[in-house]
Symmetry: none
DNA sequence: AATGAATGAGGGTTCATTCAT
DNA sequence: TATGAATGAACCCTCATTCAT
């Protein structure tokens, strides 16, 4: 057993392990997007990933864990992309909001399946639905807090409520749109979402 | 009150059957509100209603049917109450909207359990969640259509999207609020919802 | 309460009771013929007879009892008709056999439903199937015994076996025929059954 | 015997799976023979095979599938044995028939349980009973067709009916005999069955 | 690390039968 | 006698998870 061989035998399985994991994530994403958390069994995910049933549990504690992983990977990737997209603009400005919204919709167009899993079917697991909200809402709430302080928000708006409202509105519109993108152009969705965004007092 | 009248309104067995049904609906409502559609079994609902497992199926084809019945009874009762409350006001006017929103919140305060079942956990069943949306969205969409025509809505707003957005926003805020009504006063919720309602073009 | 009234009130229910029973038998016959013993519930029979579920059990101990009653009523009626039909002929003669077979087929044509219940689906209940055989076989066996003694049967034929064979052959052909009477004319069935009837040694 | 050969014929897990399946088939056969299709539950078969309930469904879609498998395995094995036994004789000849009948009875003596399942209780499932007939009858009908053409059958015999009759007669006698083989010797059964077989015109 | 057969608790549902009215 | 709501045991089947290989 040469040094090289040893290397090969210790890295090849490592690569293979990651590969297996990725295959499971991909199979799970496709199935969850198409049928939802409850309708999909861990055995089917494994089969669809081309591995044995038991292999699933070498990579994930249970079905929820895979689901959760998909959901939070998406959320963090999405946030990263939005942060990058809105990087050049002043926090909370129109341009900032537009950049983030456009990036959101670009992502949704690219990865309809992921949006379906996270926002379309997330409600299937009460726990995870709550966690998704917890991942989205606090940032929004802080934003509304500061906009309220700067007088850029109607005084009667409670940031905590507005944050819930905007999170729900955005995720719902997204889910609705990816279900059938011909329902509206990307620009129409963008403009409507921006128009509905809470802003300075009216009248 | 004649003898005939008494007979007509309800025979003895009929009263008993209706009573059992009502007990099942109540037990189901409480359990669905607390744990959601999936976590509750028909056997538990029956036991909690003080009847045998089989009795459940004398009254409902299956668990979904009871769930659906609860959901759509609530929706129609709610709509009725809102219609009554907004009866005196011009369609789509501020006063109209305020009256409907106040009635919605009054209902939510009265029947937190029902709101939880319908809006908090409704998403658990993709089918029913979709149907709930279908019961709410078209009316909103028509309202936005006519408001757009009257120039009372920013021109860039697409009614179909706005309807999805407002439905999601409202139901989410409601669910969030009934989860812990101390989070905000009824008036704060009312004002925030009204402030977030899409309206005439800004700027 | 006059004498007449008393009479009415005591005989009317009596008539009604018999009527109810007859309705149950008829409903049961139709349903058993169409779907078999297992596929039919006592509640459905009652409903189809226009009475309440519980009423079924005022007339029959259980579903089997109704089934059994139908089966054995048919068997005894059939035997009576065959006896009457073959009355003028010498026991075991060709004419005797032909008369009985013709009567059997006439009955089958009249009452396809009954034949289906008794011979088509009888096998569904092992117990009753056995009893049907026990009702048919001994008579046949005695007949073969005497025909054997008279040299009208091949010597190598064991009456006990021949009786089983003829009972099975006849009931099966009957069931097959009533399932679709266009499969063969009544005369063809008669002639074939008679031709297959064990008789004097050949060759 | 190379290493490869051993591998090909059966891997360790494969052997185990087949073994479980065989145990289920054997347990099912014994139970179906003793109590019939309806009286036996899949859970009991599993328990009797020494495996868990769920294991049953790893091997068979449902109870019917196991039943069907037993029935049609028997029928095809039986046919094979009969074909082999009658191989040397001219089709439809006396010797041919005798060889097939003797093989049938030898099989019945060997595997009373199987005969009970297939012919004794087969009627319990209308569907399967029909299929069993469909597996037996067409061959008989063809045989009678050609015998009729050759004048070896009474002209008044309709082959389609005779086929039904002979199938029923044979299976019934078989079932009756295996229920208690002391009722008749194998030779007596053989001779009676042969004597009852439709043949050339009499008189 | 991967396999895949096995597990068994538990869910949904049916239905023969009872019994208070 | 009739009613029909109620009963509850029992069945079929699924599937998340384990474990010997």
């Amino acid at each position: 057993m040469s040094f090289a061989e040893g290397n090969v035998s210790s890295t090849a399985p490592a690569r293979s392990r990651e590969d297996t994991r990725r295959r499971l994530v991909e199979a799970g994403t496709a199935l969850f997007a198409a049928e939802g958390l409850h309708a999909v069994t861990s055995a089917r995910i494994a089969r669809s990933a081309g591995v044995a049933t038991g292999t699933f549990y070498l990579h994930f504690k249970d079905k929820q864990e895979l689901f959760r992983e998909i959901v939070f990977t998406v959320l963090s990737e999405l946030r990263e992309r939005q942060d990058r997209a809105s990087g050049g603009h002043e926090d909370g400005s129109r341009a900032f909001l537009r950049a983030r919204t456009e990036e959101l919709l670009a992502f949704a167009e690219d990865r309809r399946d992921l949006i379906r899993v996270v926002f379309g079917r997330g409600g299937e697991s009460a726990t995870i639905g709550e966690e998704v909200m917890d991942a989205i809402v606090p940032g929004l709430e802080r934003a509304f807090d500061s906009r309220l302080a700067q007088g850029e928000l109607a005084r009667e708006v409670l940031p905590a409520i507005a944050a819930q409202a905007v999170a729900a509105m955005t995720t719902r519109v997204l889910a609705w749109w990816v279900e059938d993108p011909s329902r509206a152009s990307r620009e129409e969705v963008t403009q409507t979402l921006l128009a509905l965004h809470p802003s300075r007092p009216q009248r």
